[in-house]
C-alpha cells in the first residue's frame, strides 16, 4: 500500500470518527448552562432565607408542598393533606419519592427537616419563621405525619413551601459549612449536586429516579454573573443558554434579536410609597421655601389621595420600565390569594389632585423630600425621580434622595423619612404577607409591621387582618383580606405604584415557564 492511499484511509477513518462524534450531540445537547444574577452564600438549604440560596436549593431539595408558576400551592413531597381539626393537619407523603442516595423519604426525615431550621447557628435569616407555628409533630406511620399549631393557622401550607426536606441520615451532625463540599446535599429534587465553586458555578446532574417530570437536561451548570452587561454578553456569546434578569437598557435589543427568546412575568413584588401619616411634625415636609410646617400635610387622607392620582403609572411603565411593569393599586398581582379585583389603578388626573390639595388647605402645595434605595429594585431611583416631577406639577416641590439599600434601610427603620419608596415580595403567595409587614400596626411581640417604618396604623384594618389570619376557611379569609386591602388603599396608608415584571432570555429554541415568584429553575427550561 502506498503512502498516499494510506493517507486516504487515515482520512476516511478520521472522517468516520468525526461522523461518529457528530452523532453524539444529542447527548451533548442535554447539557444546559444558565446564568444567575447573584451567588448563594451557603449550600445548606436551612441556613439563610436569601433569594439566591432558595433559588439553588429548589434544584436539589423539595418541600412538602410547593408553589407553581403562579404562586398557587401544589402537592410536592406530600401527596395530599387534610385538616383533621382546626389545629391539626395530616400529610400523606409521596411513596415513590427517593433521596439521591437511594433511601426512601419517610416521615422521620420530614420531622427532622421541620426541627432543623431552629437549630441553625450564625444565620442572619433563619427559616424558623416558617416552622415556629408548629407546636407538635406526630409521626403516624412512615408515610403519614400530623402537624399541630397553637391556634388556627391558615398560612401553614404557605409556610411549608419554604422548608426543604433533607435526609436525616445524611445531614445529622453536619454544620452549615459542611454542605459546600457536597456532604449532606442529599435531596429528593430533580437534580443531584455535583460541585460548588463558590461565587462561580454550581454543577448538577439529572436525578434519573425523580418521581416527577424529569428535566430535559442530563447536566446543568448554574453560573453566577452579577454584572448585567456581562451576563447578557455570556448569552450572546453562547457561553450560557439562558439568563435571568435581562438588563432593562438592553430589553429592546434582546427582543429584536432573532437568535434569542424573551420571557417575562408579573412578579409578586409590589413597588410602593409609604407616607408619614402619624407625626404632626415630619422631618422632610416643609413649606415651599423649606421652612418647617406646623402640621404635617401627609396626615390628611385627601393629600395622600392627591399624591396617588398625581402619579402617571402608565408613563412610568412606558418610559422608565420599558413596558415591564404592571401599574397597580393592589398589594399582590391578580393571580395571588387576596387580590382585590375592585381596586383598579387610579386614572392619572393632576387637576383633580390639585383640587384635593386645595380642599385639604394646600392650594399652593408644599415641599417634600422622598427617600429611595438606588440599588435594590428595578430602576428604583429613576421611578422616584419621575414621581417627584409629577408631584412638582401639582405644586408639591419634591426632592429625591437616593442611597444604597444598606444605608437607606438603616435610616428608614429608625423612622427618619417623611415618605419613601420600597418593594415587597409576597413570598407566601398571599396578600396577608404585605399586609402584615407593611401596614399592620407596629407590634413587635406579634411580628406585625416589620417594615412599617413610619408606623401607619388603622385599627379597622388590623381587626380584619387578625380575623383573616385565624381563619382556615379559604373563602372567608380571601374576602377578609380583600376588605383589609381596600381599607388601607382607600386610606392612602401606602401608595402602590406597580408590580415588578421579572425577565428571562434564552437562546432561540429553549422554552421557559416564567414564574411569579421571580425564581429561575433549570428544570423549567425545555428545548422546543
Amino acid at each position: 500500500m502506498s503512502w498516499p492511499r494510506m493517507g486516504l484511509r487515515v482520512l476516511l477513518a478520521a472522517s468516520c470518527l468525526l461522523l461518529f462524534a457528530s452523532a453524539a450531540p444529542p447527548a451533548a445537547a442535554q447539557e444546559f448552562k444558565l446564568a444567575m444574577s447573584s451567588p448563594p452564600t451557603s449550600m445548606d438549604p436551612h441556613f439563610y432565607n436569601l433569594f439566591p440560596n432558595i433559588n439553588v436549593s429548589d434544584h436539589i431539595f423539595e418541600q412538602l408542598v410547593a408553589m407553581d408558576a403562579d404562586s398557587h400551592i401544589i402537592p410536592a413531597l406530600a401527596e395530599s393533606w387534610t385538616l383533621v381539626n382546626n389545629l391539626t393537619w395530616e400529610f400523606k407523603l409521596r411513596k415513590g419519592a427517593k433521596f439521591h442516595d437511594g433511601s426512601p423519604l419517610t416521615a422521620e426525615d420530614v420531622a427532622w427537616s421541620l426541627d432543623r431550621p431552629a437549630t441553625i447557628v450564625g444565620s442572619p435569616g433563619k427559616f424558623d419563621t416558617y416552622t415556629k407555628a408548629i407546636i407538635n409533630k406526630k409521626i403516624i406511620d412512615p408515610y403519614t405525619i400530623q402537624l399541630t399549631t397553637r391556634e388556627p393557622y391558615p398560612l401553614l401550607l404557605a409556610d411549608l413551601t419554604s422548608i426543604y426536606i433533607v435526609s436525616k441520615k445524611a445531614t445529622q451532625g453536619l454544620s452549615s459549612d459542611d454542605f459546600a463540599s457536597g456532604k449532606g446535599m442529599i435531596g429528593t429534587g430533580p437534580f443531584k449536586f455535583v460541585r460548588f465553586q463558590r461565587d462561580d458555578r454550581i454543577e448538577l446532574e439529572r436525578n434519573n429516579d425523580y418521581w416527577g417530570k424529569k428535566p430535559a437536561w442530563s447536566k446543568v451548570t448554574l453560573r453566577f454573573i452579577p454584572n448585567d452587561a456581562t451576563r447578557l454578553a455570556a448569552l450572546l456569546a453562547g457561553d450560557v443558554q439562558a439568563i435571568e434578569n435581562v438588563p432593562t437598557p438592553d430589553l429592546a435589543k434582546v427582543r429584536a434579536d432573532k437568535n434569542l427568546s424573551f420571557y417575562s412575568k408579573v412578579s409578586h413584588r409590589v413597588i410602593y410609597l409609604y407616607p408619614d401619616t402619624r407625626r404632626e411634625k415630619s422631618p422632610f415636609v416643609t413649606d415651599k421655601d423649606g421652612q418647617p410646617l406646623d402640621k404635617n400635610p401627609l396626615m390628611d387622607v385627601r393629600v395622600r389621595r392627591a399624591l396617588s392620582i398625581a402619579i402617571n403609572r402608565d408613563a412610568i411603565r412606558d418610559r422608565i420600565m420599558e413596558g415591564l411593569s404592571e401599574p397597580t393599586i393592589n398589594l399582590v398581582p391578580a393571580a395571588l390569594f387576596g387580590h382585590n379585583p375592585n381596586l383598579k389603578p387610579p386614572k392619572y388626573d393632576p387637576e383633580a389632585a390639585k383640587k384635593l390639595l386645595a380642599e385639604a388647605g394646600y392650594p399652593n402645595g408644599f415641599g417634600l423630600t422622598m427617600h429611595t434605595p438606588n440599588n435594590r429594585y428595578i430602576n428604583d431611583e429613576k421611578i422616584a425621580q419621575t414621581i417627584a416631577q409629577m408631584w412638582s406639577r401639582i405644586g408639591i416641590a419634591t426632592k429625591v434622595e437616593g442611597a444604597p439599600m444598606s444605608v437607606y434601610a438603616a435610616r428608614g427603620a429608625k423612622s427618619e423619612y417623611s415618605i419613601g419608596l420600597l418593594g415587597w415580595g409576597a413570598q407566601t403567595g398571599e396578600v396577608s404577607s404585605p399586609l402584615r409587614a407593611m401596614v399592620a400596626c407596629d407590634n413587635p411581640a406579634k411580628g406585625m409591621g416589620a417594615v412599617n417604618w413610619l408606623k401607619y396604623c388603622n385599627p379597622k384594618m388590623d381587626a380584619l387582618l387578625a380575623k383573616a389570619l385565624n381563619s382556615v376557611d379559604d373563602k372567608e379569609r380571601s374576602s377578609l383580606l380583600q376588605q383589609a386591602t381596600a381599607i388601607v388603599i382607600d386610606d392612602g396608608g401606602v401608595i402602590p405604584i406597580h408590580q415588578q415584571v421579572t425577565t428571562w432570555a434564552t437562546k432561540k429554541g429553549i422554552v421557559y415557564v416564567p414564574r411569579t415568584d421571580e425564581r429561575t429553575h433549570a428544570y423549567q427550561f425545555y428545548p422546543q
Binding site: 432565607n49 435569616g125 419563621t129 461565587d199 458555578r201 456581562t230 457561553d239 438603616a410 415587597w424 411581640a445
Partner: protein, 325 residues
C-alpha cells in the same frame, strides 16, 4: 537589618490598629447590617435575636474591644452572610485573585518592556509614536469600559474567548489554579489583560524614558566604540541598567493590582477577593470588610518591606539600619 525589621513590624502593627478602628467606625456609621441581611419575612423578635447573636446590640467600643481581643488570637470574626470565618472566606478566594494579579503583572512586563524599548529606540518613528499614543489610552480608558469592550469584541463578536468566569482549575500544591489547562488559560487571558492595561502603559513609559536616558550615557557610547553588537548593547547593558526602577514600580504595583482588581473581577465574574469585598460592602458584612482591608494593608506593608530590603541589596549606599522612618 534586624533592628530595621523589628521597627518595621512595630510600625505595621500600629497601622493595622488604626486601620481596623477606622473601618469599624466607618461601617458602624453607615448603617446596621441587619437591615439588609435579614430575610424580609422575619419579624421583630427574630430580628432582635439576630442582633444579639451577632453582638450588634453592644456599644461600639465594646464591639471593637471584643474584636481586638479575638484578633490577637488570630480570629477576625465570622462573616454575617456566610457564617464562615472571614479569613477562611478571603483565603478561599485568594488564589483566584493572586493568579489574576500575577498574570496581569506578567503581561505588563512581557508586553510593556519590549514595546517600551522599541519606543525608546525609535522615538520619532511611526512605531514609537503609535506605541506612545496607545499607552495614553492604557492610562486613560476606564477599566470597566475596556473590560466590556473586550468581552463584546473577543467573546460575543469573534467568539474566540469565553465571556467570563474562571475556567477549569487544577490543584498545584493543594491550591486550585487555572493556568495549567487550556480552558483555564482561555478564561484567564481577557481579565488579566484588562487588569494589566494600566500597568502595561506604565512599564512602556518607564522603559522608554529609561532607555532614552541610557542611550546617551558614556557606557553605551563606550560599548559602541568597543564594537559590540547592537542587540548586546541594548539587551544586556541598557536593559540591565533601566531595570532597577521598573522592578521597584512593578513590585509596588503588584499590591495595587491585588487590591484594585475589584472592577475587573466584577466585570468578568472572576470569583476572587475583589468580588467578595464588593458583596460584603453591599450587605455591610463587617467582619469580612475589616479582615479584607487589614489583609490588603498587610500585603502592602510586606511588599514595601521586601522592596526596601532589595534596595539595600541592589544599592549598598542604602543603609536600612540607619534610615529613620
Amino acid at each position: 537589618m534586624l533592628a530595621f525589621i523589628i521597627r518595621r513590624v512595630l510600625q505595621s502593627l500600629v497601622v493595622l490598629l488604626v486601620m481596623s478602628l477606622l473601618v469599624f467606625v466607618g461601617v458602624y456609621a453607615i448603617g446596621n447590617p441587619i437591615d439588609v441581611l435579614i430575610s424580609p419575612d422575619a419579624d421583630q423578635i427574630e430580628r432582635a435575636k439576630v442582633i444579639v447573636a451577632f453582638g450588634l446590640d453592644k456599644p461600639l467600643w465594646l464591639q471593637y474591644f471584643i474584636f481586638l481581643k479575638n484578633a490577637a488570637g488570630g480570629d477576625l470574626g465570622r462573616s454575617f452572610a456566610y457564617s464562615t470565618p472571614a479569613l477562611t472566606l478571603i483565603f478561599e478566594r485568594m488564589p483566584a485573585t493572586l493568579e489574576l494579579s500575577s498574570a496581569a503583572i506578567l503581561l505588563s512586563v512581557v508586553l510593556g518592556l519590549p514595546l517600551g524599548l522599541l519606543a525608546g529606540l525609535r522615538p520619532n518613528g511611526l512605531i514609537g509614536k503609535t506605541i506612545m499614543a496607545a499607552s495614553i489610552l492604557g492610562f486613560s480608558l476606564p477599566t470597566f469600559w475596556v473590560g466590556l469592550m473586550l468581552i463584546m469584541v473577543f467573546a460575543v463578536q469573534l467568539g474566540w474567548l469565553p465571556t467570563s468566569g474562571r475556567g477549569e482549575t487544577q490543584l498545584l500544591f493543594g491550591v486550585p489554579v487555572s493556568f495549567l489547562s487550556w480552558d483555564g488559560l482561555r478564561h484567564l487571558l481577557m481579565p488579566a489583560f484588562n487588569l494589566a492595561l494600566f500597568n502595561i502603559a506604565l512599564v512602556i513609559r518607564l522603559t522608554r524614558s529609561g532607555a532614552q536616558e541610557a542611550l546617551m550615557q558614556d557606557y553605551v557610547k563606550f560599548a559602541r566604540a568597543k564594537g559590540l553588537r547592537n542587540s548586546r548593547i541594548i539587551g544586556v547593558h541598557v536593559l540591565k541598567n533601566i531595570l532597577i526602577p521598573i522592578v521597584t514600580v512593578v513590585a509596588l504595583q503588584f499590591g495595587s493590582v491585588i487590591a484594585f482588581s475589584i472592577v475587573t473581577e466584577t466585570v468578568f465574574a472572576w470569583p476572587g477577593m475583589g468580588k467578595l469585598i464588593i458583596d460584603s460592602i453591599r450587605v455591610l458584612d463587617r467582619p469580612v470588610i475589616v479582615a479584607y482591608l487589614l489583609l490588603i494593608v498587610t500585603i502592602f506593608i510586606l511588599i514595601n518591606l521586601v522592596v526596601d530590603m532589595l534596595y539595600s541589596l541592589l544599592d549598598p549606599r542604602v543603609r536600612l539600619a540607619e534610615s529613620k522612618g
